[in-house]
């Protein structure tokens, strides 16, 4: 595989009031690399939803972003509870978010659908009791 620029982040599961830091940093880094704004926006949205999900639903995790010549790949890995029914979780409006995060504006059940919508490919691998890995790809040009 061709050489990639690689960014790696540890996503803290403690503090959802300031979550989104990895995504904001990725946006900055991509800007510096001269990635087109429309592409950065798609990546930012998909990455933020994935990052927030790890914080809210999985007590944190790790994010890896790989920038290739023709595509950007985001890999989000957590050791949270896993997703029992991925198809159901992908439905707009489905959410198990607790009340304390709903009061902050989360829990619409739109995060996973947004991730799908703003990427060209999305793969969810999840094992209940072990964790979840979500791989998203956005094609360049």
């Amino acid at each position: 595989m061709d050489e990639a620029v690689r960014f790696h982040f540890v996503v803290d599961g403690e503090d959802f009031t300031s979550a989104g830091q990895a995504s904001v940093q990725v946006k900055k880094n991509l800007r510096r690399l001269g990635i087109p704004p429309e592409v950065i926006r798609k990546i930012s949205i998909a990455m933020y939803e994935g990052e927030i999900n790890m914080v809210i639903h999985a007590d944190g995790g790790e994010a890896e972003v790989l920038v290739y010549e023709d595509r950007i790949v985001m890999i989000l890995t957590d050791r949270g509870p896993g997703i029992a029914d991925v198809e159901k979780a992908m439905q707009e409006g489905y959410s198990t978010a607790p009340d304390n995060v709903r009061s902050l504006g989360f829990g619409a059940g739109m995060g996973l659908p947004n991730m799908k919508r703003y990427t060209d490919d999305m793969k969810i691998e999840s094992v209940v009791g072990e964790g979840t890995t979500i791989t998203m790809t956005v094609l360049l040009a």
């Binding site: 959802f16 009031t17 300031s18 979550a19 989104g20 830091q21 995504s23 904001v24 946006k27 704004p37 429309e38 926006r41 930012s44 949205i45 990455m47 933020y48 939803e49 902050l104 504006g105 989360f106 829990g107 619409a108 059940g109 739109m110 995060g111 659908p113 947004n114 919508r117 703003y118």
Partner: protein, 109 residues
């Protein structure tokens, strides 16, 4: 129209205005953050009553031109200073979202 011009035209309160020269285009109204992420467009004016720190990240990543806090909602100083530092424009209005939206519509937004 720029964010600063919008503020002056509608006599909105300036909460943070680090990028006042940004052009505004279109409007999105909503408080559920994933709806905003999914449906707002770049350069939109975002009307909300949400005031926690997460609105700063959402505004940055969805790339809206400014937030208008409606209904007289105010921000904690830590949220305000973070928005300032991250280049997020925030205005405030006493009026409910609908009233502000009507005035935005009158401006052709």
């Amino acid at each position: 129209m720029t964010v600063t011009e919008l503020k002056d035209t509608l006599s909105l309160t300036s909460v943070t205005l680090p990028e006042g020269d940004r052009e505004v285009e279109g409007v999105y109204i909503g408080d559920l953050l994933s709806w905003v992420m999914g449906r707002a467009q770049a350069d939109n004016v975002w009307l909300t009553i949400m005031s926690n720190l997460n609105i700063v990240a959402v505004a940055t990543l969805a790339d809206v031109s400014c937030i208008i806090l409606c209904e007289g909602v105010t921000l904690e100083e830590s949220v305000r200073s973070t928005a300032e530092a991250k280049g997020v424009n925030i205005l405030a209005a006493e009026a409910p979202a609908y009233e502000t939206a009507k005035r935005l519509a009158e401006l052709g937004l």
